[in-house]
């Protein structure tokens, strides 16, 4: 077996570990930003009092109490499940439509005005419609997520295909790749440049819209818990639920989107001088 292959497994492993550590190390910056936010929050608390704005510590304590409560877990997981399935739905539907539109100018021309229409309709209107169609169920939340995040995923996928390097297509064809092969090995890969930022945006939208739809459709989950907190004027609990929903989003984003993106963007990092990588 040639030498370069023997080394490669160890090297690849070392490379990957290095990248993971580097990524974790960059977490300090995120932590610093969160501390800054907490400081501003604390200042607001001291200025307006606990009834308007509970202190960050108090909020975290409330969140901790919720974390110890199995019922709260059920509530949180319900929203998580709805947001993630809704996101998966929009990723598949929007991605597929976008790719088709990217390859077919006619579809693009038909789809663009529709995207504008969908963008123009406020999500709240969709919530009302979905409530009438599906009642207070998972389907309501998923439908609203799908409609709210579809345009951005669609445009991200389409843009990636439209702006692809046609020279690579030609090259693949010259070496005997059929249309399917060309799409899988060359086209799809180039879409990721624009598709991934769109997916990250869509994931954030999914969580926000899920909570909103739950609150308005009275469908339980974190939105339902927020509605309860509003009725009881329980600021600490309301803020704790907000913290939890943001926390869930961060967990999903960093376990689902970023590892894949990091793996796909290795070559981009290779181009950077080491000083910029941090």
């Amino acid at each position: 077996m040639p030498k370069i292959l023997q080394q490669s497994l160890f090297e690849r492993l070392a490379d990957r570990t290095g990248r993971v550590l580097e990524f974790l190390w960059s977490g300090w910056a995120g932590l610093a930003a969160l501390c800054l936010l907490a400081a501003v929050w604390q200042a607001g608390h001291e200025a307006y009092g606990p009834f308007i704005l509970t202190s960050p510590v108090e909020t975290l304590r409330a969140a901790g109490a919720l974390a110890a409560d199995p019922d709260a877990w059920t509530v949180g997981l319900k929203t998580l499940q709805r947001a993630v399935t809704g996101f998966a739905l929009v990723a598949v539907v929007g991605g597929a439509l976008g790719i088709v539109a990217g390859y077919s100018p006619a579809t693009m021309r038909l789809a663009s005005p529709l995207v504008t229409v969908i963008l123009g309709v406020p999500p709240i209107a969709w919530i009302v419609l979905a409530m009438i169609w599906f009642g207070g169920s998972d389907a309501t939340v998923r439908t609203v997520i799908l409609v709210a995040a579809l345009p951005v995923v669609f445009l991200g996928a389409a843009r990636g295909i439209v702006t692809r390097d046609r020279g690579l297509d030609r090259m693949a064809r010259a070496f005997g790749a059929g249309p399917v092969r060309r799409f899988v090995s060359v086209g799809l890969r180039q879409t990721t440049t624009t598709l991934f930022p769109a997916l990250a945006l869509a994931l954030g939208t999914s969580f926000k819209v899920a909570v909103m739809a739950e609150l308005l459709a009275n469908a339980g989950g974190i939105g339902g818990a927020l509605a309860d907190a509003r009725i009881n004027l329980d600021i600490a609990n309301a803020l704790a639920w907000v913290v939890i929903s943001v926390g869930l989003l961060i967990v999903v984003e960093y376990t689902l989107i970023y590892p894949v993106k990091g793996e796909l963007d290795r070559w981009r990092r290779a181009a950077q001088p080491w000083g910029i990588k941090r």
């Binding site: 040639p2 064809r173 010259a174 290779a270």
Partner: protein
């Protein structure tokens, strides 16, 4: 070999035969009535002013574009192509790029590593270069990887689509030498598209001149490359005298900016 190179006699095996090939973009005829035959083991350079449809013809011959008219007979087993831009996959390492063509050629996974190392050696790519991404490579190195990608599949016919136009003079010479060395075995046939007559005379066995408006091949000249002492001076002298005395080459340096490829 010499017999195949010079006269296209009855006994030579034809690697590529174009008969009456024509093409049009949006109703505008760019190629018409092109006849060209390339024998096995022979490199034919196709020259002509820019915008005359040389690249289009190569793409038609390599089945990247469908011809609107004419007949194309491909006698070779497998072709490869080297483009003007390296056209490397930016997300794959040099090794991955060479492996891409092997994968498309259906070479089993366990054989690929050996083939990559072997081909990399042929084009003087070092093992550490193979680990790099295209963004980390210079223009010349990228083109080397592109050549390696083409040679790795062991083609018996190579399309060169102005492969060295974007390189500087010194680098271009090195790449030409590389092509000369790899083709020296005589198993390789090829169609070399270029607008540089010097390059054509250095590399090819015959030079075909395409009409400025793509209306057929104006003529074919045999390059006396088999002659002893066919060095750079001889090439230069041959090119100078050809440009001066041979009416065939009169228009190859004409430039019409309005004409688009």
């Amino acid at each position: 070999m010499a017999s195949g190179r010079t006269a296209m006699g009855d006994k030579t095996v034809i690697a590529l035969n174009l008969k009456g090939v024509g093409h049009a973009y949006l109703g505008r005829t760019v190629l018409d009535g092109i006849d060209l035959a390339i024998a096995e083991g022979e490199i034919v350079a196709l020259v002509g002013p820019s915008g005359c449809g040389k690249s289009t013809l190569a793409h038609i011959a390599a089945d990247l574009i469908e011809a609107r008219a004419g007949r194309i007979d491909r006698g070779y087993r497998r072709h490869a192509m080297i483009f003007q831009e390296p056209s490397l996959l930016p997300w794959a390492t040099a090794e991955g790029n060479v492996a891409f063509s092997l994968k498309l050629a259906g070479v089993p996974r366990r054989e690929r590593a050996g083939r990559i190392v072997e081909t990399a050696e042929r084009v003087s790519l070092l093992p550490e270069d193979l680990k790099k991404f295209p963004v980390e490579l210079s223009g010349g190195m990228k083109q080397r990887v592109a050549i390696a990608r083409a040679l790795a599949v062991r083609p018996d016919f190579v399309y060169f689509d102005e492969p060295f136009t974007a390189l500087d003079v010194a680098l271009r010479r090195r790449m030409q030498d590389l092509v000369k060395e790899t083709c020296a075995g005589g198993q390789l046939s090829g169609l070399f598209i270029t607008h540089d007559l010097q390059e054509a005379a250095r590399l090819a066995d015959r030079i075909a001149v395409l009409d400025s408006h793509g209306k057929g091949v104006l003529g074919v000249r045999i390059v006396p490359s088999a002659r002893p002492g066919w060095d750079d001076t001889a090439v230069f002298d041959w090119v100078q005298s050809a440009l001066k005395h041979d009416p065939l080459f009169r228009h190859i340096h004409d430039v019409d900016e309005r004409q688009i490829a």
